[in-house]
Every structure is written in C-alpha cells, then in structure tokens.
C-alpha cells in the first residue's frame, strides 16, 4: 500500500489504518539490480517458520506413549490435517500430506502472529498469498497431467451435457479453473487486510474518545478481536481445504 504516511497519521488526525502494512527494509540488499532486501515481512516469515518448526520439534522430542500437553497439541494438529486430507482426497492424497500440513501451519502461523500487537501480518500482502496460491495451482495442474497424461484436458469437458452447449461450457470451465489462484489468494489477503484495518480503525476510536467515552468502542473491540482470531484460523483452514479439493480434482477427475 503506497498511501502510508511516514508518521503513521492521516490528514484527519486519526492514525492511518494502512500504516501497519508498510514494508520497511531492515537489511538493504541488491542483487543484480533486484531489490532483495531483508524486510520486516521477511523477518516475520522467518519467525513463523522458526516458531512452527521449534514447536513441532520440541513437542514430539520425548515421543511418549501418553502424550503430554505440548505433544497433544501437535498430535491434534497432525490429526486435523490428516483427517481433512482423508475426507476430501482419500488415502491416495496422503502422499501430499507434508505439503498441505506445511501450507496450513505456515498460513496459520502468519495469521496468528499478525494478531500480536505491533507485529506484521505477512498474509495481508497479496503478493505473499498469490505466491502460495500459484504454487498450489501450478503443482496441482502438473500432478493432474502426470497422473492422467493428456487425458487431464477431459477435466474441462463436463459429462452429460448436450453437444451444442459444450463449446460454451468448456470455455466457462477453463476460465473458472484459471481464476482459482486469484480467488484463493484474494480470499486470504482480503480477509486479513480488512480485519486488521477494521481493528485499527476501531482502536483509533478508543484513543480518540479518550478515557471518558472510549469504553463504548472498546466493548466492540473485544468481540471483534475474538472474531479476528476465528477468521485467522478459518482462513488457514479454508486455504488448506481448498488445496485438498483442488488436489482431489487433479487425482480423481470426477466431475
């Protein structure tokens, strides 16, 4: 977002709600005229990977038969994603469990760490979510062609349709297939950005009304913050489950 004012304040005196999405260069770096600086976005991505990795590593380190608290949480997460794949893709999809689990944990970690005050939400930038969605889209398409060969193009021909309608429907199917990465990335990005902007705007109301009148918007802030935590989890879940559905389409092709 190019609008963010330098001091974080808009013209109206209230804090600029877009200021939190500003990318700052922490370690400037240029490789062959490409700006490859280590930014606050990169820092939080590294942080998420380290936290998720450390958590999973430490929680299964002891590997006891009766799980402790941390091991239980890790097992719940594992079972959650594993059941998601079994229900939506079938046992053939368990080959792709590591990918879906990594994707889910990364998106969940990014969303949740963004809820910490003064932190940075990596998934509120469309280029990050689009990169994730593009990986899913390209990967799923390649899997479809590897599994079914050139017969995968039959995926775009719906069965049981009168022949005169086919040219129209095939075009619609191809367009809807090609919009998948866009809808997948925009859903996550727009949810995270809209949520954080809303929290910031309401937070500014609390400050602007002061100690006397600020209690009213503060009462709204508390459930909204809870809702944002729900959305943060839900969007990670939806991202993972749509990946499963796309995988299922590529593996089984039934329409």
């Amino acid at each position: 977002m190019a609008s963010a004012a330098g001091d974080g304040h808009g013209g109206s005196g209230l804090p600029d709600p877009m200021h939190q999405f500003e990318i700052k260069r922490l370690v400037p770096l240029e490789i062959f005229d490409i700006d490859a600086s280590f930014t606050n976005a990169s820092l939080f991505m590294v942080l998420v990977v380290v936290i998720v990795g450390l958590f999973l590593f430490l929680s299964v380190k002891s590997r006891s038969l009766v799980p402790g608290r941390m091991q239980s949480v890790a097992e719940i997460m594992y079972e959650f994603v594993a059941n998601m794949i079994r229900d939506n893709v079938g046992t053939a999809g368990m080959k792709f469990f590591p990918f879906v689990f990594t994707l889910f944990m990364f998106v969940l970690g990014c969303n949740m760490i963004g809820m910490v005050p003064y932190s940075f939400t990596v998934t509120s930038h469309i280029i990050v979510t689009f990169a994730l969605a593009a990986v899913v889209f390209i990967g799923v398409t390649i899997i479809g062609f590897v599994k079914h060969g050139i017969g995968f193009v039959k995926f775009f021909v719906p069965s049981g349709v009168p022949a005169p309608l086919l040219p129209l429907l095939v075009v619609i199917e191809i367009i809807s297939y090609l919009t998948r990465p866009i809808s997948l990335s925009v859903r996550l990005f727009a949810n995270m950005m809209a949520g954080h902007t809303m929290l910031k705007v309401f937070g500014a109301f609390v400050v602007a009304l002061g100690a006397l009148g600020g209690w009213a918007p503060l009462l709204f802030m508390i459930p909204f913050t809870g809702l944002e935590f729900l959305v943060a989890f839900l969007q990670a879940y939806v991202f993972a489950i749509l990946t499963c559905i796309y995988l299922n389409d590529a593996l089984h092709m039934h329409h």
């Binding site: 977002m1 229900d87 809808s183 859903r187 990005f189 727009a190 809209a194």
Partner: protein, 75 residues
C-alpha cells in the same frame, strides 16, 4: 466533478458488494441452524461444509472491498 471526489464515491459504491456477502453468510448459517435443529445428529458432519460455504460467500464480498482499495490506492 473533482476527480478525487469521484474516486472516493467510486470506492464507496464498490463497498456495496459487502451487502451480498452479508446476505450469503446469513443464508448459510441460517440454513445450517435450521437443518441442525431438525437433525442434530447429522449436524457435526456438515460443519466443514458450513465453514467452506461461509468462506466462499465472504470472499465474493471481499472482492468488492479489494476493488474499493484498488480505486483508492492504485489510481
């Protein structure tokens, strides 16, 4: 008209897309609840579909929000 004013009006108009998202989310949760009260034993099995429908309905409204943001910050 002042182009800046037209920009702001356009962004406001694009936000109307959220009306559709509100109707869609309300329909999904309302129908889920009425179905769940009729047959409570089948309700947990459809919870994943509920969340999926919620996310899909919400996304269409958020596309309108993205259009508003593009009008405001890109042009």
């Amino acid at each position: 008209m002042d182009p800046a004013a037209a920009k702001l009006i356009g962004a406001g108009l694009a936000s109307i897309a959220l009306v559709g998202a509100g109707i869609g989310i309300g329909t999904i949760f309302g129908n889920y609840l009425s179905g769940a009260l009729r047959n409570p034993s089948a309700a947990p099995g459809q919870f994943a579909n509920l969340l999926l429908g919620f996310a899909l309905a919400e996304a269409t409204g958020l596309f309108g929000l993205v259009v508003a943001l593009i009008i405001l910050f890109v042009f």
